[in-house]
Amino acid sequence: MTWRYVVRRLLQVLPAVASILVVTFAIVHAAPGDPVVAVAGENGDKAYYDFMRAKFGLDRPLPAQFLTYSTDVLRGDLGVSYVQGERVSTLIAERVPATLLLMGTALVASTLGGIVLGALAARRPFGPFDLTVSTVALIGYALPVFWMAQLAMLTIAFRTGWFPIQGMTTARATYAGLAHWADVGRHLALPALVLAASEIALVTRIARTGILTEMRQDYVRVAESKGLSASGALVHHALRNALLPIVTVVGSRIGFLFSGAVLVETVFGWPGLGRLVLSAAQTRDHPVLLGMVLLVAFSLVLSNLLTDLLYARVDPRIRYR
């Protein structure tokens, strides 16, 4: 049954995550730069460095450090940030909601928007609408997200004043209830749009191609010959079958979406995980970096699993045992 499949898949994941942990641990420690120097800023003396190194356990041999770290992780303890002095689990938990909101909005917007645009484009292949959508989609897919973020900020937010430039809320005011969420929405719109842009482009292309392929299938012709309108056949028959590749693509793009979120969050000052990862990398905050890598690895595995399970929903022929 499906549950046995889920458990088996999750068990298969463990060696993958373990090796990711080993590799990341090695890379983080091999990278040039000393976290103790980062903590001391441009100050401190050798006594201070030695003291902090001993405090963080960095004076011990690498295998011993790894052993301690992995034992702690197995116990569910991700350690304490060198720089912020706070538990890594707390730091991550505090930031997950903001990132989920941003990524979730971008994911929903790009998937729905992409499917709608793709379906509209597929109605008249190579018509003016299709060509416009395809061209814009190609450009949207090709633009680097950090550049688009700054462009959007400079043109849309700064010139028009329709959107705020940074943050998740207005600093000068404290709103509550509905007004608070309206405020968040206003701050969310632009970063989510930028993050969604390249995904919309991708989903549009896939949806258009998928729908066009399905529209040429016999069952669609049968439906049409029974008197169903072209749009009706598209929405009720072709679209559902075209969804399968879309689900695959969307599921496999979660990782890309996260890396995009890191950049978008930095540009727009969105208080999420992306900002945490960036500052942890800059300050060689090993516990935070490793914690984030574990989190991302797990979410990727989970999203792949979810994708597989969604297959079965979309296509009843697929069964997992």
Partner: protein, 564 residues
């Protein structure tokens, strides 16, 4: 004294570059502030309003006493006080201490504390808090305090609740410069004494809910912002004028500027060079040069020659003639204009002009003279075999013949990298091939200062308020390879070492001046560094707001107010 390793000071410094531009409020050191006596033309204080300040990172902790972090400090200092601060005139002013006496030729300092000061939770402030702060927080965990006062052997004594005495085994000159809210913020003993590990939030949850004596109290702290409100019991009666202060985290410097222009924030600690022209033209914004960026005061943008490369690395700069040649090939004025857009000035001595007593005037630094550079390189054995070609070694000691003059430049992104590009272009004209490498703080610290694996590097050496704070580390031969941002050149001159020790033992500035002059004359002869420019950072703020004390960086908004 030997072990006194003063590192850069993030302190508020006496400014030579001046504080014109911005409007200044009065924050009379003595106590109650009478703002009606401020200079004509300065707006009258208005009560109310919220000031939004941009900061660069989530601080995580809000306890400035257990770290020298340039992230934690700007986020939290407004809730605390030092024993002393800086008045708007750039002189040391009373804060939690009202007066002090210096005894034993500078080995003992006795402070009288302000009576009636209350912590934000209503408890009285006493000398026990000061003793606790130094012994349990500053001396173990504040990197600069540990390296300076800690190494000097500081002990404290609290004979009565309103007296605190600092003892050193020998005279200690720079103490008063190190007791402001940035260098030595005072925290309450009753809140922090029960902490399992005072240095972390995990071991001391109070680090996220700070209790101080400062002008503002914490309302809430989230990863996005720190919200504070007016401390109605602040010891300077009437201050602060603002009802609220919000520190907003905006990581990207360009976004910070846009947010200021868009009126989403009111105060920016530092404007990036390329934006300065646009900001100064904006009539809705005011600017004020700050003597310091986030790294410390009285900073000199410096190029470091590697005079002591590790085995296997070509020793390009061990020969004085080569260093003289690079000096002659570099047009410091042009680079200054292109990189810093006229902010600050080209350095005219190894010690910053902000340390007035120690800065030497009238030194003759090598001038821009590419022809002389070529002659010097030729005489050192670095020959240019065809026009425009990279020079090669022909008979240079310890360098295989035919080695090309190809060197690297290490710098942070931003001004240091742009300086590298300027030098690359200028040095190309004399046949030196420079590769510019942009590195982050941690990487550069390792490559340049620990491994010494570089040829030329940028560094912003912040001299601080006393040569002992930020000059010694640059020239003291004991500080080669030990710590980051110390003697990067690997410069070693026994005479300079002796003079530095002499200067540290002497308390009288008039007697110290000739010692530092001699050090600078020797440094100008030996040229271990290129002193490129004295940098200033430009603050920018909403023109409706004024009353900032640009000197007292940590408490700049203590007496600030905004027109409605």
């Amino acid at each position: 004294m030997k072990k006194r390793l003063f590192m850069a000071v993030l302190a508020m410094m006496v400014v030579a570059t001046g504080c014109g531009g911005g409007k200044k409020g009065s924050s009379d050191a003595g106590g109650a502030t009478d703002t009606s006596t401020t200079v004509a033309g300065t707006p009258q204080p208005v009560r109310g309003g919220t000031l939004v300040v941009a900061i660069g990172s989530d601080p995580g902790s809000l306890n400035p006493a257990v770290t020298s972090s340039g992230v934690v400090h700007p986020a939290s200092e407004m809730m605390f006080n030092g024993l002393v601060g800086w008045g708007p005139d750039g002189k040391i002013a009373p804060e939690l201490a009202t007066k002090w006496s210096i005894e034993d030729n500078g080995a003992t300092y006795r402070f009288t504390l302000r009576d009636g000061v209350k912590w934000h939770d209503g408890q009285p402030f006493t000398s026990d808090d000061v003793k606790f702060t130094f012994e349990k927080a500053l001396l173990p965990f504040h990197s600069r305090t540990k390296a300076s006062m800690g190494s000097a052997g500081l002990t404290l004594d609290a004979p009565d609740p309103l007296t605190i005495v600092f003892h050193f085994p020998q005279p200690y000159a720079p103490l008063l410069q190190q007791l402001n809210v940035t260098e030595a913020p005072i925290i309450p003993k009753h809140v922090y004494e029960s902490c399992a590990d005072i240095s972390t939030v995990a071991g001391c949850p109070a680090n996220k809910t700070p209790i101080g004596t400062g002008p503002f109290k914490l309302d809430s702290y989230s990863i996005n912002e720190i919200r504070m409100s007016r401390n109605p019991d602040y010891f300077r009666a009437g201050e602060p004028y603002l009802d609220g202060l919000v520190e907003r985290v905006i990581p990207d410097p360009e976004t910070q500027v846009l947010a200021l222009e868009n009126k989403e924030v009111d105060w920016l600690g530092s404007v990036p060079g390329p934006d300065i022209a646009r900001i100064t033209k904006n009539s809705a914004l005011d600017t004020a040069p700050a003597p310091r960026g986030s790294g410390g005061g009285n900073c000199i943008m410096t190029a470091i020659f590697n005079m002591k490369p590790p085995a296997g690395r070509t020793p390009f700069f061990t020969d004085l003639r080569v260093r003289q040649a690079v000096w002659a090939a570099v047009n410091r004025q042009q680079a200054f204009q292109n990189v810093l857009f006229g902010q600050g000035k080209v350095a005219d001595a190894p010690i910053h002009s902000g340390i007035v007593f120690a800065h030497a005037t009238g030194l003759s630094l090598p001038t821009f003279d590419p022809a002389r550079a070529a002659t010097l390189l030729d005489s050192a054995g670095w020959k240019q075999e065809s026009k425009g070609a990279t020079r090669v070694a022909r008979g240079v000691p310890n360098v295989p013949d035919g080695t090309e003059f190809k060197i690297d430049w290490h710098g942070f992104s931003g001004d240091q990298t742009t300086y590298g590009e300027q030098l690359r272009a200028q040095l190309k004209d004399v046949g030196i091939d420079v590769t510019v490498k942009t590195e982050d703080n941690a990487t550069l610290a390792t490559n340049v200062f620990t491994k010494r694996d570089f040829d030329l590097s940028a560094a912003s050496y912040c001299n601080g308020d006393d040569p002992e704070i930020g000059v010694r580390r640059q020239y003291d031969s004991k500080q080669i390879g030990s710590t980051a941002f110390s003697n990067g050149a690997g410069y070693s001159n026994p005479q300079v070492d002796t003079l530095l020790d002499q200067g540290a033992r002497e308390a009288d500035p008039a007697k110290r001046a000739p010692i530092y002059r001699q050090i600078q004359e020797i440094a100008v002869h030996d040229l271990p560094y290129i002193w490129l420019a004295e940098t200033v950072s430009l603050r920018a703020f909403n023109a409706n707001c004024s009353g900032f004390n640009q000197e007292n960086t940590g408490l700049f908004a203590e007496a600030a107010f905004c027109k409605k």
